[in-house]
Amino acid sequence: MSVSLPFLQALILFVWAVVIGIAAGWLLRRFFGLFRRSPRRQTEISSTPKQTVAADHSRSRSTHKISDVETAEASRRTPITLAKRRSATQGELEEMARSASASAMAGAGLSAGPQLPPVHTDERWGLRGVSAEAPRSDEPWPTRDGAAEIHSSSDWKAQKTGFGDYAPSVEADPVFRPLDQAIAKTVLGAAVSADIDPSEPAETLSHSEAELTGSTLSGSDTSGSGDEADGREKIDPAALTAALWRVRAATEGKVRPPFPPSLTDETVRLKIQSREVEPGEPSDIYGFDSAALAAARGAEGWQPTRKSGSETQGESVRPFRPIGDLSALARTRWGIPAIPPETLDETVTDQNSNDPIIDMDAEVPSGRLWGPAVALPLPSAVAADALSGRESSTATRDILEDFDADGSDVDETAFAIGMDNGDRPDHLAEAADELASQSEPANEESVIPELEESEMQQVAADDEALASADEVGTSTAILAPGPAEDEEPSVIESDFEPILKGRGTPAPSPDDPRVSPEEPQPIDLLDQPVPESPPAGTEDRQAGDDLSRIKGVGPATEQRLHELGVTRYAQIAAWGPEEATWFGEQLFFPGRVERENWIELARQLVEEQTAQN
């Protein structure tokens, strides 16, 4: 398959067109999205769908009440742009309101409190929004409508109105006032237990403040008789709502709500009542019924749009799940009013605050608890430095200086965990001395570190002597025992001559505490005869060829070749392909020998050498 060049060019052109087009469209959408109205503004037009619904309702019932006629006239008076919309049917509106209430409940329960159900089942409280007529102050609290409850049930498991369900009103705009039990307990100082007695007149906000705070809480005690045995106080829901409103206005403190939630402006009230546990019903409503859940999974509209709801919960399925997000609900084409954010708890509007991926503004804890940002030297390396009496390397010293902030005395615990501020090598040496003095008899306590050191020195000297025994005659290897070469170069230089001249090792300075008289002396190789030629098998480095003349061989590569035993051109010239591959791998550049043609170059250099000789 051959692709012609113009085809490829055209393809690239179209790809560019697509990319630029997508980017331009995305940017334009984002730009013009800045001037769009926010979704919460949609509450301003909340009266229109209500009127549409009312008109639809009146048409379906075909009754001729005065109120229905009025609402029908009101619907005719709606603006043309809004009248163009398709009016939602009753079932659609119910479904949307149901999903709204379920999502609100799901959001309200996300992080409000403990995830486990309360211990006592009779302490569970259901919130129920009950549609009300135009309220009057002397009107009793609306009673439960059994048929309406069953019809608008949203409890998918129990198939009836259960705990925590809203029974949304379709004749009026829904105003949700979820009740946070923690707030209620904190503010009112009593467990919320109010069973609504229909015979009792509802409290209004025309009462004074003192009545709202004190007397209404105790005044409603006379209504319910059964719950008094529990010893809890009765709370009027209207007073509770007012208290919640005041608390919200006080705590949030942003914008004072336009008016208190009185009975005159509310068409949906919260009905707070205890939940009776039926004997036949399982006591744990949070129980996981796999069959019912599987049946509900197939149901239409159940599937949550966000994955976070189902993924984070795992198998512990709660009875309410987010069906849809509130903003999506607010964007419905029928203009269902969005739930006013000021009527919701914070957990509803900020329901993603616990998600670290979605909530990008969440505080990320920062500090030293996440570990030091520098690579600390290994404690064993530091200890070895300290034991050998060597100055720590510059990097180690720099790092240790960071810890040495104020020069205060070293805490033992801090030292033990490696977070001390003191000078670490010194302290380690002291600790080693202490340990040695504790473990060994007292008469040897001054010798113990020196003994170890002398052993190490002896071993090192033996190794060095053995390694350099072959090159004594030609090389300038230093046979002096003791510390490493990098400790004091000047001293080593001064000791260089006497060693080679056979005067033995320099006498240890008397003030050097590390050298003890018991220290065994290194092997003196100077008495042995110097071999005439290096033994067979060892390479004469000094007599080797200059491998850097081969193109591509630098100083590092040359040294590596020397380490591998390659010092002459003839060796490289004798390489076969397998050797070339092997040496290339050993030099960490596979294929380099073949690519740069070292063998041929080495052959040329060998010929050059032979021609010169």
Binding site: L13, F14, V19, G21, G25, L27, L28, R29, R30, A328
Partner: protein, 64 residues
């Protein structure tokens, strides 16, 4: 139709293509500019469709 430079353009689309090519040849190699002259209308359609797609993507991202 006779152009200013003496070239013959069969229609106005060809004139547009030639104008685009003159612009495109400022920063594109000559064969690619010739391709642009031939397919500028297709490129325009593709660009507009991609812009619509980008618009939709922007709306989706805004909803988050």
């Amino acid at each position: 139709m006779e152009g200013i430079s003496g070239e013959y353009w069969p229609d106005r689309l060809g004139a547009v293509g030639r104008m685009i090519t003159e612009r495109a040849s400022q920063f594109l190699p000559a064969p690619v500019a010739g391709l642009v002259e031939q397919t500028w209308w297709l490129l325009l359609i593709v660009f507009l469709l991609a812009a619509v797609i980008g618009w939709k993507l922007g709306a989706r991202g805004r909803a988050q």
